[in-house]
């Protein structure tokens, strides 16, 4: 073993160079410059600075972890990470040299300009040598800090990471946090915490200290709890009273949410809620029955157009705006169920990938139909349907997102309830069997065709409701709202949250739909961040953020069981006759 492993310095160099390339890349796409202006902590830390050290920090961490995995001592680990930090500076340094000696670098790489030089040399534009040395030192130190983190005891480390992330987030999403706090605190107090949208030093330190103590204490308690009841700690179901308390607190928070967060965030919440609703619906098909449906947008569109055509006060409205939103909801629901049922019929015999492609096709057909001239007299073609009135609740028009939020919340709650009940029922068991093995399920006496039809139909229902609410919320319906990206987004949030897990869907929707909205101030870079995050997530946590029980078991099943007395357990050759 000892002879065959890579020398430590090579590991360090490799990791360091990757971090360096990332740093250079962030510079060439202009992200460093764009983020430099955004101060996280007023006049002290800018987002750009964090961005500069972050790749080396992670690189140092990884380098230290890797060499330690091969038996290196802590000192060697830190030395390796310092080497990695130095390597991380190399690509940027090379670019600095090129920039100083070649005239037209900027013609090709528009962002390699004076601002960039200024950022990576920490303001030493005129004395490049000093700047270069400074960069080297900073990156080496950052890398060493990353290595030191690996050496800290677990509790301390996670508390540190958590708290740093907390301060960073509070500073980064200053605008959002301010909006929330606006409802609670007077303006002067707010101004003493934030200077416009960046944190002031004092509050930042206070948050850090409080967060650190809090998270350290939390980790400590968790450890002692699991030590006193080894292994059982995460298995023991919570008592009924505990669950009721959690439920009530959750309900109160959810009900009060729009009052706390204000209008702009409520609007985002409604969008997130619509995706939660669709996620819960699609999860019935994918998570429970294992039917990979890539045409979920059809149900959403059907619901939206039904609502639009039935309630619009414009020329396309069938009732001249006479029909109430509350009557339309059940109609949209049934219409979506019928569509789901009809579209499921031809694809019943397909499995897996083939089903996905076929459903994808349905989504495309629907999009084409919506925009076609043929249906133009009914649903307006590319012009869409306009003048959809807001829902009316006993005489009050629900105009604000704060009010619409409650409709979405109610719909989500009902769907969640149904979905949980279904999962624990005979029907759920049927779907579980089909997901595992259709042939065997049939041999057990399960009518697979009927079960699949049911899954598609129920799954479609919530899509219809979401579509109807969407139409009422926006007030207009255009075909370009119903692209394949809706289907893919819903699918992604299910996978991100954890296949088959209901809380996972909520978290997935917040992360996938809410985050891009919150990141809006980072303009085009948000999709880059978002994509990188997704890749990172899928590499490091493929089971999703909050995996379901069955899913956890699946992953546990992949590692060999602890007590298998039988040497042939793994042998399952597939020889047929």
């Amino acid at each position: 073993m000892e002879k065959h492993r890579k020398p430590y310095w090579r590991t360090a160099l490799q990791v360091g160079l990757v971090a360096g390339v990332v740093l250079l890349y962030l510079g060439t796409i202009g992200m460093l410059a764009a983020f430099q202006e955004r101060e996280v902590i007023y006049e002290i830390v800018s987002l750009g600075q964090i961005l500069i050290v972050f790749p080396s920090l992670v690189g140092g961490w990884m380098a230290a972890r890797r060499v330690q995995a091969h038996g290196a001592s802590p000192v060697v680990a830190i030395a390796s990470s310092v080497l990695a930090g130095i390597a991380a500076a190399v690509p940027t340094l090379i670019m600095l040299v090129i920039n100083a000696n070649v005239e037209n670098v900027r013609d090709v790489l528009v962002n390699i300009n004076r601002d960039w030089v200024d950022i990576v040399t920490f303001g030493n534009r005129d004395d490049l040598l000093a700047g270069a040395v400074l960069l080297l030192v900073v990156l080496a130190v950052a890398s060493a800090v990353g290595a030191l983190l690996t050496l800290l005891p677990g509790k301390l480390r996670s508390a540190l990471i958590f708290t740093s992330a907390l301060v960073l987030l509070v500073g980064m999403f200053g605008e959002t946090v301010r909006q929330i706090l606006q409802q609670l605190l007077p303006r002067e107090t707010l101004d003493s915490i934030y200077r416009r949208t960046s944190l002031r030093v004092g509050p930042a330190v206070i948050i850090f200290v409080l967060g650190f103590i809090g998270s350290y204490f939390w980790a400590y308690r968790k450890e002692t709890a699991s030590r006193s009841a080894p292994r059982a700690a995460n298995v023991t179901p919570r008592s009924l009273t505990q669950r009721i308390i959690v439920f009530i607190v959750l309900a109160i928070v959810l009900l009060a949410l729009p009052l706390i967060v204000g209008r702009a965030l409520s609007d985002i919440l409604v969008t997130v809620g619509l995706y939660v609703l669709m996620g819960l619906g699609l999860n019935i098909a994918i998570g429970l029955a294992g039917l990979l449906d890539l045409g979920y947008v059809t149900n959403y569109a059907v619901g939206a157009y039904i609502c639009a055509v039935l309630t619009s006060t414009g020329t396309l409205g069938l009732t001249g705006g006479q029909m109430s939103f509350w009557v339309v909801i059940p109609i949209a629901l049934v219409a979506a169920m019928i569509t789901g049922f009809l579209l499921a019929m031809p694809v019943l015999k397909m499995r897996g990938d083939y089903l996905a492609i076929a459903t994808l096709g349905f989504g495309e057909i629907l999009g084409t139909l919506a925009i076609s001239d043929w249906l133009r007299p009914v649903i307006g073609g590319a012009q869409g349907v306009l003048f959809i009135p807001k829902p009316n609740f006993f005489g009050t028009e629900l105009v604000n997102p704060e009010q619409l939020y409650y409709i979405v919340l109610a719909a989500c709650a009902i769907t969640l309830f149904i979905s949980i009940r279904l999962n624990n029922s005979r029907v759920g068991r049927r779907w579980m069997a089909i997901r595992e093995d259709e042939d065997v399920a049939a041999a057990m006496g399960i009518d697979t065709a009927r079960a699949k039809l049911l899954a598609f139909t129920i799954s479609a229902a919530t899509g219809g409701v979401a579509g109807a609410i969407f139409a009422a919320k926006v007030g207009t319906v255009f075909p370009n709202s119903f692209t394949v990206f809706v289907s893919i987004n819903v699918l992604s949030l299910i996978i991100l949250g954890g296949m088959g897990s209901n809380p996972g869907i909520v978290v997935g929707a917040i992360a996938l739909v809410g985050m891009p909205e919150l990141l809006r101030e980072f303009s085009e870079y948000r999709w880059l961040i978002y994509g990188a995050l997704l890749i990172f997530m899928m590499l490091n946590r493929p089971e999703g953020l909050i995996p379901s029980k069955v899913r956890q078991r699946e992953l546990a099943a992949e590692s060999p069981p602890e007590s298998t007395p039988n040497p042939t357990s793994a042998a399952q050759p597939a020889i047929g006759d």
Binding site: E436, A556, N566, T568, A570, D577
Partner: protein, 237 residues
């Protein structure tokens, strides 16, 4: 009248004529085995009986009822249960959940509970692992589970597809002992097996399949002595 009668069935995979007019029967209380090499049509025969595929011609009757085109999911309630090739357990569900699915068509919770405890008596190892995920069981235990699950349907005919597949010799013996024991308790068994020696050991009668046709049919004891069978399937020179 035999319990299961298969009359002149022809089955195809596309253009490939997989079963060329198979006729055989299984009497009440027997163990009947279909032996043959790879590609002889053994699994196809079972898939045809259980309606996972349909014959183009021919007729299959069970207890006098025509079941040729009875949908696969209706068969358990009619008394036919199968242990599929490669065991086909639901690997991500627990042992108990697998057994419950075996009793899926039944509506008598008390009877199901009773049968579950019966199968735990029959397979004590499964009892130890009742809450364990089936995929983490050893190969032998999985085969036991697949058999137990089929029995949960209270069948009158048990179809077994290659129960020895992928098992260590010592476990194969255990599995075959179990099959014999179930049979002595009154279960009729149709056993499809490549391991002809073992199959003929416990069977009452046997059919030898070759490229979709039955080439030999006789008592298991007689078949075992047949020189051609010995040479081709038993590895005796």
């Amino acid at each position: 009248m035999a319990l299961l009668e298969v009359e002149n069935i022809h089955a195809y995979y596309g253009n490939i004529h997989a079963l060329k007019g198979l006729t055989f029967h299984v009497e009440q209380g027997e163990i009947v085995t279909l032996i043959g090499s790879n590609g002889a049509g053994k699994t196809t025969t079972l898939r045809t009986i259980t309606s996972l595929m349909h014959p183009r011609d021919g007729k299959i009757t069970f207890e006098g009822n025509d079941i040729t085109y009875t949908p696969a999911n209706k068969l358990p309630s009619q008394g036919v249960a199968m242990v599929p090739e490669g065991r086909g357990i639901f690997s991500k569900l627990t042992v108990e959940e697998n057994l419950e699915l075996g009793a899926y068509y039944r509506n008598d919770p008390d009877g199901i509970r009773q049968d579950m405890s019966n199968s735990f008596d029959l397979f004590p190892r499964l009892k130890e692992r009742r809450t364990q995920v089936a995929g983490t069981l050893s190969g032998g235990e999985q085969q036991m589970l697949a058999i137990a699950r089929a029995l949960m349907a209270k069948p009158r005919l048990l179809l077994l597809d290659e129960p020895s597949m992928g098992l260590a010799p010592v476990l194969v013996d255990t599995v075959f002992d179990t099959i014999e024991r179930i049979n002595t308790e009154g279960m009729t068994v149709l056993l499809v097996e490549q391991n002809a020696l073992l199959a003929l050991e416990i069977a009452d009668r046997g059919y030898v399949l070759q490229t979709g046709e039955i080439v030999l049919a006789d008592d298991a004891a007689t078949l075992k002595k047949n020189p051609e069978v010995q040479k081709k399937y038993l590895g005796v020179d």
